[in-house]
């Protein structure tokens, strides 16, 4: 086992017969929260199934910390996967659903019981653990799957649409849990349609469309690479008109729009670094006092719109 703590996809393709799952995917992931974003059928779940060894690549290799699923004893101690499959062994209780897989991990009964209790507690399912899963609500089933995937303290947690079916409170708790796990140095890989929440918690993003990785990296880096769409910066200042006119003198500024409040300017620029330099200059002259400067479209939602489009097709 190598010492690297990366997840590496190397030229990975997966075909289901003649149907493309993912094609020539190559990237590596460091610890933190990574979001897989893309429309339905873009290959997110295929990528997660490849990562966790539930399916095998048609070509290429996937390594997690230098390991592959061909070494299941070591590999699956590292990996926890909360799938989208909303199915459970018939008649199983929430407790046994977590306890028995832990016994398969090789944990002795006492330790398995302790880990089960801890996982149930973290997922907020301790109160209903003795009930049969067949009687759970959708949100509870989602959380019990999450509890099972984290019970053995994996280093890589893969979550396929983990926020589906959760009420706002449970969603907030789950997100807090993901953030806490990422802070502990874990890889947390999430696919989600809820872009606002993905944006808030993600360290990096992998954008997928029609089986291809359209872009990947830290959200701001990805945004800067999208050169077709000038970046938007919202500046709230004491003299919006003055700032707008200064901005217009720059070649790379495409638009400078004074907003309705009269104190904010929305600037669209092809070179945001140059614009920030200008802003520094303007501020140093003392003619304009700047309250806030905020990028207006370096979020996952904007990147998604620019690269994939609202209809889910790559632009």
């Amino acid at each position: 086992m190598t010492e690297n703590r990366q997840i590496v996809f190397n030229n990975v393709s997966k075909f289901y017969g003649e149907v493309l799952g993912v094609n020539r995917v190559s990237f590596s992931l460091d610890p933190g929260i990574t979001s897989l974003v893309g429309p339905n059928g873009s290959g997110k779940t295929t990528l997660m199934n490849l990562l966790t060894g539930l399916i095998k690549p048609t070509q290429g290799t996937v390594h997690v910390f230098g390991l592959t699923p061909n070494d299941p004893v070591h590999f699956y101690r590292l990996v926890g996967y909360c799938t989208q499959f909303d199915s459970f062994p018939p008649g199983v209780t929430g407790y046994n659903f977590i306890y028995w897989p832990l016994r398969l991990h090789g944990f002795p009964a006492e330790q398995a019981a302790k880990l089960t209790a801890e996982a149930l507690d973290r997922a907020g399912m301790a109160q209903v653990a003795k009930r049969k899963i067949a009687g759970y609500s959708k949100g509870m089933r989602q959380r019990i799957r999450l509890a099972q995937s984290i019970a053995h303290h994996p280093s890589v947690l893969v979550l396929d649409e983990p926020l589906n079916g959760l009420d706002p409170m449970a969603r907030a708790e789950s997100i807090a849990l993901f953030e806490a796990l990422a802070k502990q140095g874990m890889h947390v890989i999430i696919s989600s349609h809820i872009l606002e929440e993905v944006d808030r918690i993600s360290d990096r993003v992998v954008l997928m469309s029609s089986g291809y990785v359209v872009a990947e990296g830290q959200i701001r880096e990805v945004r800067r690479e999208v050169r077709d769409h000038p970046m938007q910066v919202l500046v709230r200042c004491s003299n919006a008109a003055r700032l707008a006119s200064a901005a217009f003198e720059l070649d790379h500024v495409v638009e400078a729009k004074i907003l309705a409040d009269g104190q904010s300017v929305l600037v669209r620029t092809r070179d945001v670094e140059q614009f920030y330099l200008l802003l520094n200059k303007v501020v140093s002259t003392g003619l304009v006092d700047v309250d806030t400067v905020a990028p207006a479209d370096d979020d996952v939602n904007s990147i998604y719109q620019y690269l994939i489009g609202s209809d889910g097709s790559p632009t």
């Binding site: 095998k56 004893v73 699956y76 101690r77 199915s87 062994p89 897989p101 016994r103 398969l104 090789g106």
Partner: protein, 291 residues
């Protein structure tokens, strides 16, 4: 790589394997699967297959109470032979194993729960061995109890003559043979159905073909008869049943197999099919929508 190097590498690999962990995992799987299979409403029909002759014999004994003539005790031996060799081996154990062993993996795919076991740090070969042992325990326990009860009910009501036949005569030998045949039938059919469930999405059709193969095997050439589970079992039975009906015209009498060879042959067959299952499970992928 030379053969010597290959052998040395294989030996090294085998030594490095965490056998204690594997054994523990097999134990956990067996406990889990036995609980799920033995005490499940889904398995009521298997209980029915196993114990319907027992219920029939109980009624027979109740109805005919006091009218058992020791002169007919030898007829009971033939009755027991027909029950075990025709009903249990060719019908009840066959279909019970089809239900139990095909469901071990295929059932998990149908219920979309196989991924939970694939995501555990368990070698897939260990998974197969654990599930196979669980299926074997369930089927063997059920049918051994059924055969034991049938044996008792066939002879018990003959009083002293029955007891003498059972304990001083050939009774116990017959019982031992039938218990062995029952266990081997469960292992043989079980391994075949486990492999079929990995090879085919719907194992019912190949199961029906297998049933045809096993039924018609007496008319096959001698070498082909060796590929049948019932061929080996036939040579372990204490009573030979004559083939009757149209099939008798075409029966090919194969050279008899020594009992130890029959046991060994059947165990080899089960082992070979189990190894095949291990290869098949290694290439299995979780694609429920395609199933």
């Amino acid at each position: 790589m030379s053969a010597q190097n290959f052998l040395a590498q294989t030996q090294k690999n085998l030594k490095e394997q965490p056998w204690a962990l594997y054994a523990g995992q097999v134990g956990v799987l067996v406990r889990y699967e036995v609980t799920r299979n033995l005490f499940s409403l889904r398995r009521v029909w298997v209980y029915f297959l196993a114990f319907i002759p027992v219920i029939f014999l109980i009624f027979r004994n109740l109805i005919s109470r006091g009218h058992f003539d020791p002169a007919y005790i030898e007829e009971q031996t033939e009755g027991l032979a027909i029950l075990v060799q025709i009903y249990y081996v060719r019908l009840a154990i066959f279909f019970a194993c089809m239900g139990i062993f095909t469901w071990l993996i295929r059932g998990e795919i149908v219920q979309r729960t196989l991924h939970y076991q694939f995501l555990a740090p368990v070698r897939r070969e260990v998974l197969i061995v654990g599930k196979f042992l669980a299926g074997a325990i369930v089927s063997i326990v059920l049918f051994e109890i059924a055969v034991l009860a049938s044996f008792y009910l066939f002879y018990a009501h003959y009083g002293a003559a029955g007891r003498s036949y059972m304990f001083d005569g050939p009774g116990l030998g017959q019982l031992g043979s039938y218990l062995l045949v029952t266990a081997l039938a469960c292992l043989g059919f079980g391994s075949v159905f486990l492999a079929l469930s990995l090879l085919f999405k719907n194992p019912i059709v190949p199961g029906a073909i297998l049933l045809g193969w096993e039924t018609l095997s007496p008319i096959f050439p001698s070498w082909a008869q060796h590929l049948s589970v019932t061929f080996y079992l036939k040579h372990l039975c204490p009573t030979t049943l004559a083939t009757t009906g149209p099939l008798a015209l075409f029966t090919v009498v194969a050279e008899p197999v020594a009992p130890w060879l029959a046991v060994f042959g059947l165990c080899c067959l089960a082992l070979a099919v189990l190894i095949l299952s291990c290869f098949l499970i290694r290439r299995t992928q979780i694609m429920y929508t395609a199933e």
